[in-house]
């Protein structure tokens, strides 16, 4: 599994950080999820997806109506 080093001053790539595979998948997120039970994985992912949906709706609203 390819691991990229943490970004250092010598690195030129803006995406050269953390533990990623060759496709840019953040393996640390998957490893974190695999430490949870399947039930916990689904509950956590659903909570995070709902948060993302909420954020998308908020961003699409008229800026003057955001509060």
């Amino acid at each position: 599994m390819a691991k990229t080093p943490n970004k250092s001053p010598a690195s030129n790539s803006p995406t050269d950080y953390g533990e990623q595979d060759e496709n840019g998948v953040d393996l640390s997120l998957i490893r974190r999820n695999l430490r949870l039970s399947p039930t916990e994985r689904v509950r956590r992912a659903e909570r995070e997806s709902k948060g993302l949906l909420h954020l998308r709706k908020y961003v699409r609203r008229d800026p003057e109506k955001r509060s």
Binding site: I30, N33, S37, V42, R43, S49
Partner: protein, 168 residues
């Protein structure tokens, strides 16, 4: 102790289906989550068995779920019974728990029987649910190849590699 205490839509829907004895397999984005994917998804995809008896049970469970056909005019009549379900194959519903897609057939693998052959059982909040095999899910994503499936594929292939590391 986990911080995740709120029951998921998948648990709530599965509980109702299992209470009626419906035979189904978790597929799609929820299966990705069960395998550990971090990709966001917003609906529950289930493959259901299309035997007469299972359609009857499914109709009974759906009446409890009170779904409506997604994006259909509100006055479009849709009676939830065994016969209506037999006339269709893949259905997209809105339910009080969220979007629910019921799939009778998944290319390129096939129907419930074909997917069930490799499915694994998982504990989901005390319920025993069948989940599509990781390799079968990868095959489906490779076949469909929409942009979001490409993202799923990257996640699923990474999960497969990590699983292999742990089995060495």
């Amino acid at each position: 102790m986990s911080e995740e205490t709120q029951r998921s839509a998948l648990e709530l829907i599965s509980e109702i289906l299992l209470s009626e004895g419906v035979e189904f397999i978790v597929v799609g984005g929820q299966a990705e989550w069960l395998f550990g994917s971090a990709r966001p998804t917003f609906d529950v995809d289930l493959c259901y068995r299309r035997t007469r008896e299972n359609l009857r049970r499914l109709a009974s469970a759906l009446r409890k779920l009170k779904p409506s056909l997604r994006n259909a005019p509100p006055d479009l009549p849709f009676q939830i019974d065994e016969q209506s379900l037999a006339l269709g194959c893949n259905f997209t519903f809105d339910t009080p728990f969220g979007d629910l897609d019921l799939l009778g057939f998944l290319e390129p693998i096939g129907d419930f029987e074909a997917i069930s052959a490799g499915a694994e059982s998982m504990d989901l909040g005390g319920l025993s649910v069948k989940v599509i095999n990781l390799d079968d899910l990868i095959r489906i994503k490779e076949y469909i190849r929409r942009p979001k499936d490409q993202e799923s594929l990257f996640q699923l292939r990474a999960i497969k590699k990590i699983r292999a590391e742990h089995s060495d």
